[in-house]
């Protein structure tokens, strides 16, 4: 069962998600080794595939580096649930086919270690630990279309071919 890793902080930036010293590669497997390194050194040791990052406002602010999304995807994180996102990061996630959830008070309503199941279609987070269901606003249709196509490039491929 996917576990929540809660960071009770706003403005977790792309330098913390993937420090610039590792930007000399775009290999998601290498990037994943350093995912969240500057905010939580032990991050990669404690997570398992499918786990969820939970944070406050403005998650992913800073650089346009999609490497931040790739490192999270490379680390096999299942989803990010944050109060709000920085614009470029949010857009990059959609373009990479990675689902991000906006949830008011995310770091307050989800506790570190909670077991979480997400129903994307219904827009519902099932917190198994707290035995609580919380609904969220699903992504807009055009974004879902891009995610369902497998990312923006698959989406535009039809156009250029």
């Amino acid at each position: 069962m996917p576990k929540a890793h809660v960071y009770k902080r706003d403005h977790i930036n792309t330098d913390e998600i993937i420090p610039a010293r590792y930007l000399n590669t775009d290999d998601a497997v290498v990037l994943a080794k350093h995912c969240m390194e500057d905010i939580d050194e032990g991050f990669m040791k404690k997570i398992s595939a499918g786990d969820i990052i939970v944070a406050g406002d403005d998650f992913g602010c800073g650089s346009s580096r999609e490497h931040a999304v790739w490192s999270i995807q490379g680390a096999k994180i299942g989803a990010v649930i944050a109060q709000s996102y920085a614009r470029i990061f949010y857009r990059n996630c959609i373009n990479c086919g990675f689902y991000v959830i906006e949830l008011p008070n995310a770091p307050q309503v989800i506790n570190d270690g909670d077991e979480i199941e997400i129903d994307y279609k219904a827009g519902e987070i099932n917190n198994k630990t707290q035995k609580k269901k919380i609904s969220f606003e699903p992504l807009p249709d055009f974004a879902l279309e891009i995610i369902n196509d497998g990312g923006l490039l698959e989406h535009i491929k039809k156009k250029v071919k």
Binding site: D15, E66, F142, I156
Partner: protein, 430 residues
């Protein structure tokens, strides 16, 4: 340019007008999703190689226009290690293979946001994207310009189009006249202090007001450069004589092929913020957010290990002129690294005798690169070290060790602080 919609006059901001034009629509409003034609695309060595690989992997071989893509390595150039050499090579091979006309090879290359305006690639009314968050810089030229990630970049390169959500606009009225020793960097640090690092999330930040009339294009670019540090999608400043003069000097001779858009008097803003610039003081943004601004008078005296003068925020010739004026005849007390943003600026520093002042002051005078601004190379901080820097970000680990600290300031404050080895008020040194 006033558009009439259903008999009513549709009042739009400059940003809305530019986006409407790019989307082929007579009008747009905030929140609307549009598909916009791109006029220019900026490509550098960190985010472009992945974009190229993505296109290859998807078997998409098209480049929408070889004239409208501008390529310059900057972040890790000249290659800082084997891996970055590989990135530079991928960029180089692709740019040559695709016959990209405006490719600034190492030697001509420089910090992207300084190269593009300097070499005449930025025009009023344009829509420009770049694979870099500070692409918002070009808004200083009455243009719409925003940063994107590699996938958007790849899509843009292939199709010359991209989807956008039309942003709401916040109007910042910069009233008054900047006092002696206070610069546009201090203005934008104050703006970010007021609204916070997400105060303009998703929004266009439109700057107007008399204080701008006293600012050169270089100084204005410092302001729009940091729109992203308030979460903004873009920053924009209207066209005037100062814009025109810069364009006349930097566009190809006689090129006046651009459209000037202006905000309508009745355009809607989600917020208006007035700032009396005459009351401002030199500012320093403390770790670890650009919004942690303090007045220099409240924080002078803090010891620094390094000073860094450069970057797309403050690595232009007027920045070095200011720094040199302060450093002339003096020696720095902390490690000081001076990095002109482009080869042209580098040469200007030499021709004007500025480089010699830095040499005599015992600064490192580097070749153009992003270098230490993003913690790449050429001035990385050790554990516990503090750096006063003219860059735009002071996030955890931005310039090196996660336990190092970055203090953002104007070139004047950084130069004066370099001489004293601690934060000082530059007004006592000018």
């Amino acid at each position: 340019m006033v558009k009439k919609v259903k008999g009513k006059i549709m009042q739009m901001t400059i940003t809305e007008k530019i986006l409407a034009r790019a989307a082929g629509l007579s009008s747009v409003k905030p929140g609307q999703l549009i598909n916009a034609k791109l006029d220019r695309i900026m490509c550098h060595d960190v985010t472009t190689p992945p974009a190229i690989s993505m296109l290859k992997a998807k078997d998409i071989d098209t480049v929408f226009d070889t004239d409208k893509i501008i390529v310059t390595p900057d972040h890790f150039q000249p290659a800082k290690d084997i891996q970055s050499a590989q990135l530079l090579k991928r960029l180089d091979t692709w740019a040559k293979e695709k016959c990209i006309k405006n490719y600034y090879k190492v030697g001509k290359a420089g910090v992207c946001h300084a190269i593009l305006p300097e070499q005449g690639h930025i025009k009023p009314g344009h829509v420009t994207i770049g694979g870099d968050s500070h692409t918002c810089t070009y808004g200083a030229f009455a243009a719409f310009s925003t940063g994107v990630g590699s996938t958007d970049l790849a899509a843009g390169i292939a199709t010359g189009e991209l989807w956008f959500r039309v942003p709401e606009s916040i109007k910042f009225v910069l009233n008054g006249k900047l006092p002696f020793g206070v610069y546009s960097k201090d203005v934008i640090l104050e703006v970010i202090r007021i609204i916070g690092t997400d105060g303009a999330l998703y929004k266009a930040m439109e700057f107007v007001g008399p204080a701008l009339k006293e600012m050169t294009m270089e100084a204005r670019m410092t302001i729009t450069n940091m729109a992203i540090e308030a979460g903004g999608k873009s920053g924009i400043i209207g066209f005037d004589e100062i814009t025109k003069k810069y364009l006349d000097e930097h566009l190809k001779a006689g090129d006046t092929d651009y459209t000037i858009y202006e905000s309508d008097a009745g355009a809607k803003y989600c917020q208006t913020i007035e700032i009396d610039c005459s009351k401002l003081e030199p500012m320093v943004a403390f770790p670890h957010l650009p919004s942690n601004g303090k007045k220099i008078t409240e924080c002078a005296g803090l010891a620094m290990d390094q000073a860094y003068i450069g970057s797309c925020t403050n690595g232009r010739i007027e920045d070095f002129r200011i720094a040199a004026k302060i450093m002339k005849g003096k020696k720095v007390k902390c490690r000081t690294i001076v990095v002109p943003a482009t080869p042209v600026i580098w040469k200007q520093c030499i021709d004007e005798g500025i480089a010699e002042i830095f040499y005599n002051a015992e600064c490192v005078f580097s070749a153009p690169t992003c270098g230490a601004c993003l913690g790449g190379f050429m001035g990385i901080l050790a554990e516990g070290e503090r750096c006063v820097s003219t860059t735009n970000r002071n996030f955890v680990g931005r310039m090196g060790h996660p336990k190092s600290e970055v203090y953002l300031a104007s070139p004047a404050t950084a130069a004066a602080s370099a001489i004293e080895g601690k934060l000082v008020d530059p007004r006592n040194y000018l």
